[in-house]
Subunit: 433 residues, 4 copies
């Protein structure tokens, strides 16, 4: 009945006794982890797990990258700054310089970087505040199945009913529009949004901004097309709204390029970054702002942990190690293709299943949350950490580190395939009764 | 004209070019810091500064405590987990166990710990969401001069007009009440609040919660009395509201005890923790919840960086090193007295000035923001990092590390005294014109 | 250049001097009216106008119906109550009895009648308050091009951007859905709404109510089909929401039956009534409430003018005179057909024009607001009061009294046809340049 | 047990069967009224009641004033317009001219008149919309115990918890401030409001407007002093907010002058009018707007019943009959003194009771809602219609017609005195147990 030996079991008592019921992932992965390296997690009983979750895309470069470890240890040993509010530090200067040289300049981007506080919700909150200030408008357009965070502003944008229910209060200021495909493949959602915004009696107030994820990670790995994203960018421009791309989960290489929208030929006004932005999984987030919109007054938005200097150190190493040339990018794209093939093979064995996503941001819609949960549960027993997403938790989602060795990727896919084999028919049969 | 040599100047170009105008502290402390140890910051030019800001109370144990450094380096070198979402880890178990043994049990507290995400705004947002869920009510009572964060929910509670102006949208759901002394020493604000809540036509809806800082750090070092805090606790209980103590800036020993309300004999329903909670300045925050209110559903409030495992390591060291017995507490209280005396001496030289605060959380109300800014500016030139607070930035605020050596504390106070000497008369004269 | 002689002109000075710029209809119909009878208005210069506006459907039985006049005069001469708050009066008892006997019972309706205050916005505000109380939910679903009033609650439901702009504040608590045909004839809006409500990550919170006009008067005479209205009723029931039919403009016989939804086989939870409810154009409105939802506490919603007793008198006469049998209903339906034919003939002369609406609630979409305004302007000069509606004011709307003599109806249509002849080609040519 | 004979009883069945539970006054005055003249109501059983309620101040000139009756009958018989939306009519021109000549000009007022729709909530809603538009700000300051109506905007301003509870939704956008005396006679509420508005960290956002009743009718007959009202006017001016005087219940002579603030030397930006504005109890309301604030676009705020032409007729007669010279004003003031003396005599017999209000807008705070209800119940049995007000319904409120004959006034006061005699000691004794 238990997934772990006595050591873990005893350790877990403290969580049952003292940690809030809000805890969640630990309920699916019911063991106590102690070490992690690359794409492998190890629990206190020594059992190893391949990591197909990667901190929900916060560990795109794997656990404890040795170069980041070395740089961080050197920084700590040298009494480098740990916490500096938003004061100038050399570590921050070096990070910003690397980000400018390696990321922004080569992509022709003139954005400024706002250190917003280190969680993903921080740049989302900053973005909607700024968009409202810049436009003098109130309504933010967000999309079905979108996920943007849990603070009141970010939560108002988030679609998930369970999360919204936690607010205990109305979540206003948002007009909800259909994401590409939300009404099926034949409905032109862009045309519908255009009709609503062009109809002065539609009741949709002129928006301050559109906030959109190019791939909806929590929402079920819905990947928008280039045409649709360009359409949204055009709608924003035509209707005087800012375009906010929330690239928190899809960015930092997850789709094969640093930003998930690079192939789309769009130039977002505001771009959120978090999760893998520090490279090593440390809390770090930022908002990229087109210079003309950087109308903040000093300290108008602030926060205690804007200067998480450890994260500046590892983030710089990540940029220098992985993004100075296109080798890593090409590797990720190749690995994404390998993942796609593997998932296609597995999906083919499940009646009605389809694969979703792009790059290393993919999964299988197995048709029901119960089936997906059963599959992931078996995977965990067999040494694979993997989770679901989607409105009904019906998508088995692969978020492996981008540099996972092919052998481990394949091994993980094998575990997944076996779990599918074990559950898919049974549950299908049950559903058919 | 410049505060720094050529090295700093060149380094700073990247900030001017690429960092958002929202940046703030760096405008007051216009140099580039590179190292920090204990109570001393060092910039890239080798100049040293005594730190009377301590990361706005995020560095209560000083910079780079050697025991925390050692434990963290050991953790990193051993490939300890860095980021684990909210999965169980041994580092988290050890932290929770230490927190239970060293902090909660000795104080007779049965609170559960919710890892809310690592910024101060996270537990504040979680607290108001939970209070609204628990009570089915909407209104949160917050106080004049209160500061609780910058995300939309936390910002609605925050009093500061500049911060609120950043929202670009109405901030609703809050009834504002006067903090102790807000209407002068002779007005019984408790009685007024009681009258409003007992009058069914007052227009103040039955509140979900009161959120209060026992000492208002940003609001000007207003320190509530035991009687007033007990009165607020009683009002909350009598009117079916939860009591949220926001102990983010005042907690972790800043006032001389671990929680700032320990001497008040109150038992808050919800307590926020952040800033110095990690011990080392790493992002880490939590909400303490009375068990009967822990009605969260799994994942109803979540967040990517709830499992900042580096912070669990250093936070545990901080508890074990400083709070296992009352030695540190006594030291802080003694140092607080020393600080109080020093500030009294200085305040006596400024016409109309008064000292404020308690413990190691003190300052001087110099009567005007211009004067306070001039004083702090001169201090910085002389090697002291010190900031203002208060509605008009009229309070020179001392937030030194709690373990600052007496000699450094005195040296800092001397610099402050000299700066006061230089500015106080001149500006007073100007004001009199 | 002026439409009126010296007498009117002088009279109008007081309006220019003292009436707020918010005034509107008087700008289109720039004369001073003094008398009205049946379907004819007369101005102070003795010029007569056929009334194709009928107080925006507030004068369905024409001006100054002689039986209502007689009953009202008798009431006044006999010192009958004029104003009675919501005290019991015999006039109110007689009205309610007539409403029960003549309207509710024959239609098998068990609704209770709430006197909400006499404007259309009053029952709309009462309805959304009640729906929120009954369901404990917040979101009201309203529709594109819907119009429900100008007070803050009603305005939040209203689609028109110009009206919404008057709020000076966000209008929240509403999810906007497409009315039938809003995305063109081929889009199944019911299916889309169903998808949004069934998707737990759509971001559309479970609704307290749907509020819908069976024919959208201000929105451009969009007439919903039986299937669509039944679909909305089903969606409301399936998702635990109340169905509010706003029958303020479409009710009281405008579509050929007393309620506009009688042929649809639906049983709305809440029905708003106003405009022609008093029969004579006096302010009077009510909310019809299914008994199980009548959970109001005494005075929980009140209002000074709930007891406009003059209106009770005339409203009773209207019911007794026009609705005791089906003669009037049949007349209206026949007249509606006559109107439809006339409008079809006219529309056929305008490139691209279409007719809209049903019963005596019809108009022509002439394709542009400029053309519609020009047509109505010429009509007014020629003695016909007629207005536009629609998101772009592109619909010439006929709202004649339901009992307008055929000769007058035809005469009015002739004036309209002539005006169309004069403007349609010219403007079409201009638009083609 | 019943207050009425068989006739009434049978008539009342229809109300029990078909009228919503929201009904209220009819519960206190449990008979069926049929006629009314001057200050006397008559029920269907022929029993007469002196009217000390006067439609909550909607019948300041008594019931069925013969001159208003005559003018209205003449208007109806002559086929005068009944309903004209906001088109120009001669009846409206005559009313506006009379209002300008008789009311505005002699008082040096340059306000424009906005016909907002006929209920009191309409000008209140229009006022806050306009204030927000004019200032670009969101917060409206309203006061403890204030009552401003039941539509969502007006209700947000209203203090009463029972009414607010009807909303079923948060009522935001309002900062609540203490009315004069709200914290007892010794607290300077003006100084406290000034402190809150001048403190940039108070959390009270810069207000769009103050809305205040010079006498709080529903709130318990709290009458503000000249000094306090001037203080509020000054605070509004100093802080860039509009001053809205809600004179709906206190206006039209109730306090002895046409506007209740005439002796205060203030010049409100916006003034609401309703209740007795039509003279005869017909629905009619307006917003008076300083010309510089009349920035409405045409139809930006509209409403079906803005042109209740019957009300224009009677309103004009009321102005011409009662306000052309100061005779009526002087009579009202004298009658107010008579009332005051009578109430003082009665109050002296009740332990702890005090009189409140001014002019003909007065009452007795008897100390408990139970006692006040018992007194009013007995009064009704004895032929006097009189109601309570105040947060705890603890004030017996006299709202007699302003022209009530002295004999009737005295007779009513005698009934009141007898009822007090019957109840006061008993209930006091009970309370003392």
């Amino acid at each position: 009945m238990t997934n772990s030996t006595q050591t873990s079991a005893k350790t877990k008592e403290i969580f049952a006794r003292r940690e809030s019921e809000a805890r969640s992932y630990c309920r699916s992965f019911d063991t106590v982890f102690s070490k992690a390296k690359g794409s492998v997690l190890t629990d206190t009983d020594g059992k190893e797990y391949i990591d197909f979750l990667a901190g929900c895309s916060s560990l795109n470069y794997g656990h404890n990258d040795p170069d980041m470890q070395a740089a961080l240890i050197e920084h700590i040993q040298g009494d480098g700054i740990t916490h500096a509010l938003d004061m100038f530090t050399d570590a921050k200067a070096k990070f910003l310089t690397a980000f400018e040289e390696i990321i922004l300049k080569p992509r022709g981007m003139d954005h400024k970087v706002m250190m917003t506080g280190p969680t993903g919700a921080n740049p989302v909150e900053a973005a909607i505040k700024l968009a409202r200030k810049v436009t003098g408008r109130h309504t933010i357009i967000s999309f079905t199945n979108g996920f943007h965070g849990m603070t009141m502003g970010a939560l108002s944008l988030t679609g998930n009913a369970g999360k919204r229910g936690g607010a205990g209060a109305p979540l206003d200021g948002v007009a909800r529009m259909p994401y590409e495909g939300a009404f099926g493949p034949d409905v032109d959602t862009l045309a519908q949004i255009e009709m609503l915004l062009s109809n002065p009696s539609s009741g949709i107030d002129a928006p301050a901004a559109f906030i959109v994820e190019p791939v909806q990670g929590e929402g079920g790995l819905n990947a928008a097309s280039k045409e649709w994203m360009q359409g949204i960018a055009r709608l924003a421009r035509d209707h005087g709204a800012l375009l906010i791309v929330d690239d928190i989960q899809a960015g930092c290489g997850r789709t094969g390029t640093f930003f998930s929208f690079e192939e789309f030929g769009i130039d977002p006004d505001l771009i959120t970054q978090a999760k893998s932005f520090s490279g090593m999984g440390l809390p770090f987030a930022a908002l990229l702002i087109k210079p003309q919109h950087d109308i903040w007054k000093p300290a108008e938005h602030n926060g205690t942990f804007r200067g998480n200097t450890h994260a500046f150190v590892t983030a710089r190493v990540a940029l220098e190690k992985f993004w100075k040339n296109d080798a890593f990018e090409k590797d990720v794209q190749a690995k994404g293709d390998r993942l796609a093939e593997g998932l296609e093979r597995i999906a083919a064995t499940i009646p009605g299943a389809t694969t979703k996503g792009r790059g290393m941001f993919r999964g299988i819609d197995v048709g029901s949350g119960d089936l997906a949960a059963a599959i992931c549960g078996t995977c965990f027993e067999e040494g694979l950490v993997i989770e679901t997403s989607g409105a009904h938790d019906e998508v088995v989602k692969v978020l492996a580190p981008l540099n996972i060795p092919d052998a481990l990727l394949d091994r993980g896919l094998d575990i997944l395939a076996d779990a599918v084999k074990r559950h898919a028919p049974t549950i299908t049969t049950m559903a058919a009764e």
